[in-house]
Amino acid sequence: MQSDWLLGLAGGGLIGLAAAMFLLVNGKIMGASGIIGGLVDGSGRGDWQERAALIAGLILAPALVILAMGGSATQLTENWLVVVIAGVLVGIGTRLANGCTSGHGVCGISRLSLRGIVATAFYIGAGGLTIVVFKHLLGVI
């Protein structure tokens, strides 16, 4: 358990380093939903190459590590209906809110942005309630 926390801290450090590099070098916010969403709705056409390159690294680097060393599985539920509904909710929600865990959470909270803090409180609260209802009460997940 404690080694999980240490790995969490170390992995978190890498995520923070990545976000810091994107800010200080490219002058941009490393928010996953914004980077992906801008390609989906066309609002990020102007710098699509940077977005595509970041996404390529985000997919390829963990793939290489898994290939070389193995790693923990994703353990996503096999209830495909839940997967699809969850995906749609995540897509709509992060774009409406203009950010997700990386944008509002990591990049927002670190500059003490009220928006980032409020967004994080709401998505963690909603996530916690969802677990209570769908896991403990309904037993769906």
């Binding site: 002058g27 709509i92 677990i131």
Partner: protein, 143 residues
């Protein structure tokens, strides 16, 4: 050059998500499961990420980015309904599957069919968002 930097940033981000356990949905759902078998790992990940980023924000003062003209402008400080509604909707999906946009991509190569399905649904949701946003704004103006 900016494209290469973006690729390196994405790679570090992805490996960080993998190492920290955030590509494992049970760890994310474990963090949200306050009344069950609570797993505090996500707090360590957030803390570990926020610290270097807080230093980076400090370093932006009085400087320019290395490869561009300016740092991102401060967003409109108003909270607004979209932020609250959107974050709530996002949180529901996050709780249901244990995936958010970054880890959905980072786990794509080893997440199986479900991972591809989640990503496809997420992209569809993102494509729907501008229409829903317009509707919400309209409804807000009517109130």
């Amino acid at each position: 050059m900016r494209i290469l930097v973006s690729f390196i940033v994405g790679s570090l981000f992805g490996v960080g998500l993998l190492v920290s356990g955030m590509t494992n949905t049970t760890k994310v759902q474990g963090w949200l499961d306050i009344f069950g078998d609570w797993d505090p790992t996500l707090a360590f990940v957030m803390g570990g990420a926020i610290l270097p980023m807080a230093i980076a924000w400090r370093m932006t003062q009085g400087r320019k980015p290395v490869l561009s003209d300016q740092f991102p402008a401060k967003p409109d400080p108003r909270l607004g309904r979209n932020l609250v509604v959107g974050s709530t909707v996002f949180g529901m999906g996050w709780g249901l599957a244990g995936l958010c946009p970054g880890p959905a991509l980072a786990s794509l190569s080893f997440g199986g069919i479900g991972g591809v399905l989640f990503l496809t649904a997420m992209l569809a949701g993102m494509a729907m968002a501008p229409v829903l946003r317009a509707r919400l704004d309209q409804a807000g103006a009517a109130v």
